[in-house]
Symmetry: C2
Subunit: 225 residues, 2 copies
Amino acid sequence: MTEATAHTMSKNRYAEADIAAVYRAIYERRDMRHFLPDPVAPELLSRLLMAAHHAPSVGFMQPWRFIRISCPDLRQSIHALVDQERICTAKALNEREEAFMRLKVEGILECPIILVAALCAQREQHIFGRRTLPEMDLASLACAIQNMWLAARAEGLGLGWVSMFEPEALKQLLNMPSDSQPIAILCLGHVADFYDKPMLEQEQWAARQDINAYLFENTWESPCR
Amino acid sequence: MTEATAHTMSKNRYAEADIAAVYRAIYERRDMRHFLPDPVAPELLSRLLMAAHHAPSVGFMQPWRFIRISCPDLRQSIHALVDQERICTAKALNEREEAFMRLKVEGILECPIILVAALCAQREQHIFGRRTLPEMDLASLACAIQNMWLAARAEGLGLGWVSMFEPEALKQLLNMPSDSQPIAILCLGHVADFYDKPMLEQEQWAARQDINAYLFENTWESPCR
């Protein structure tokens, strides 16, 4: 390595404390289902939405849309929709039905802010990076939500992603066009505490796997040296 | 707000410098296509993969798999696949064909590390959060890649997400099972400079939209107050 290269490499690297802060947010982010009722400052919400808006997007298409739910009746209807799907999911889980029904899977009625995150309409005009993989728009929206999630964690706010709903029913509730798609009901708010571990790990629903089992080299399921 | 609540809210919030570091990574992350050939330290790559592995996943299913491409012939074949799709994309773009062909859309032959990010096989057994939205596994993988992207930016490393390929052809190259799915060819490495703006914005391919046009309240396309 030349001296010039070494200089370039170190100039692009953040200070150690800043690198540690980024990893801290990554490791301490949780999918929250318990919230405090205290309001979220509007400028804080704006910062989180702006963080989402600076996610990568395929062909720079920025497919994300956020619908804030401020109407209490609408919140109730959304909760009812999620609860209906919760029962259907429980039944589909067969022998795990009871264990599933004991889990808290959403905090829709408690959190101060509900946002529905959706993919925009008329996405078929965006071909760049999507000709063979049209689902890349969803990947972009997920990156936007992850940005918001990490920024929220740093700001001390909890966020929960609920995907337990019938998308067509939610579209109807929000007057969404047929070619748009709701992807997430996001619950946002202050929390008493962040879970020490992912809630599903804490509740022994599933365990974190050894990453080495997920890393391959050149061909599927070959161990990575 | 009670004093106890105010205390809780401030204890969960990171120090201002740490919050700023998280936002800095979010705002300075770029989809890179230009790389330096210098090797990436193995422990740095491990940290990035571990950051990915700590992404949220629907029902804690951890659907991500990463295939490192160390074989030079395989890298060439992957490049050929991407280049083939680049031509197909250009043709599909009609009047924008020429402008598209002038863009650099990947750095596969230059970057020191290539990872193919994929969804695992046998995902139909995971019903939690996916009964009505099976595509949530892709959302989880995208969150994992975004974690890696932000951590890489903080560490001074560039990452580029290439989605221009025929997935069935890539599956064949990597001996992937039919029910797995390659989602991204990730190019990773040191860079001389990060782009000031997203490359597609710099090249005037597309402009960043006003976020206010993307925020609605209670119903689709209603302005959010």
